[in-house]
């Protein structure tokens, strides 16, 4: 479509670049908490419609007979500078909403998979998803107060992670801790491209 532009400039009005980062993990792993801790605005919520009516139809016929519902997505924003914004999206927790992940993941910079050591297996599907699609990700091991502490190496073995996937201990409630996870993700993306960001 002509009116959909791909350039970043129009009549001198600069349009910022928005980068998407996904926050995934099992139910209760702290996705919404992490997005809240990092977002500069109160985390926002939007909805996507779940409907079978969207396929190949452009009129009202049939729509009235379809049951339609929505699934909520949490998102937050971090403004890096005038030209650059990060958008964090918490992925819908349930497996059956995974088709929404494809929309979220399209063009995404990368993902944070939050792991809860009490329910480690809950993050396997997220790890599989990003591995299969070649989307760079890091694993944030969310340190819940009542969880036994495991060494990162033990968690890495349990998750059968590639050695180059960074793992970070984190507290999803803490902004500084969340920042560390995001930084390790961006550095990982840069390393994967063979252009490491200097760690100065």
């Amino acid at each position: 479509m002509d009116s959909v532009r791909y350039d970043g400039e129009r009549r001198g009005h600069r349009v910022p670049i928005a980068l998407k980062i996904l926050v995934a993990g099992g139910f209760g792993a702290g996705k919404t908490t992490l997005v809240s801790a990092l977002s500069e605005v109160r985390p926002l919520q939007t909805e996507e419609i779940l409907t079978g009516a969207g396929i190949g139809t452009d009129d009202i016929s049939g729509v009235e007979t379809k049951s339609t519902t929505t699934v909520a997505m949490d998102f937050g924003r971090i403004t890096i500078n005038d030209d650059l914004q990060l958008y964090l999206f918490g992925t819908p927790g349930q497996d059956r909403f995974w088709f929404l992940w494809d929309e979220l993941a399209f063009g995404a910079l990368g993902a944070v998979v939050l792991a809860d050591t009490r329910r480690l297996a809950d993050c396997f599907p997220s790890i599989d998803y990003f591995e299969q699609r070649g989307i760079p990700f890091v694993v944030g091991v969310n340190c819940f107060d009542d969880a036994r502490r495991f060494s990162l190496e033990a968690v890495r073995r349990a998750l059968d992670l590639d050695p180059d996937v960074p793992m970070v201990l984190c507290d999803a409630r803490d902004r500084q801790s969340g920042k560390t996870v995001l930084i390790s993700l961006v550095e990982h993306v840069a390393r994967q491209r063979g252009e490491p960001v200097s760690t100065a």
Partner: protein, 129 residues
């Protein structure tokens, strides 16, 4: 009358799903937006001084969209501000696009970012937060 028992239960509908909605009333039943494929973080930018009076067929939500997009706003924020599902916003955006009232700027796909400067800026920016 317990009509609900006679209807087959929809697989999506349970306590974990949201409320049942009729989101397409606003779109005149259209579910396939001409703005299909517009990214969640694509920036929508309204034309300067749009002449909305020339389009009496537009809904109040269309007009709000144009207003909110005055300084450039990502699709997902428009949806949150209007409290509308993203799919509905895409249909409304399609209406505005064909009338030339807004332009949509798709984000660059992260995999094609031209150089490392952007990643470095992100790391520096995060460190400085």
């Amino acid at each position: 009358m317990r009509t609900d028992l006679s209807e087959p239960r929809h697989e999506w509908l349970d306590d974990d799903a949201g409320p049942v909605v009729r989101p397409y009333t606003l779109t005149g039943g259209r579910v396939r937006p001409s703005a299909d494929g517009v990214d969640l973080v694509a920036y929508v930018l309204a034309q300067p001084d749009p002449d909305l009076a020339a389009y009496p067929e537009l809904h109040p939500e269309h007009r709000l969209l144009v207003e909110l997009a005055g300084s450039g706003t990502p699709v997902v924020e428009l949806a949150a501000d209007l409290d509308l599902a993203v799919g509905v916003v895409r249909v409304l955006l399609g209406d505005l696009l064909v009338r030339g009232l807004v332009a949509v700027h798709q984000p660059p796909r992260a995999t094609y970012l031209p150089d490392n400067d952007i990643l470095k800026a992100v790391v520096d920016g995060l460190r400085a937060l």
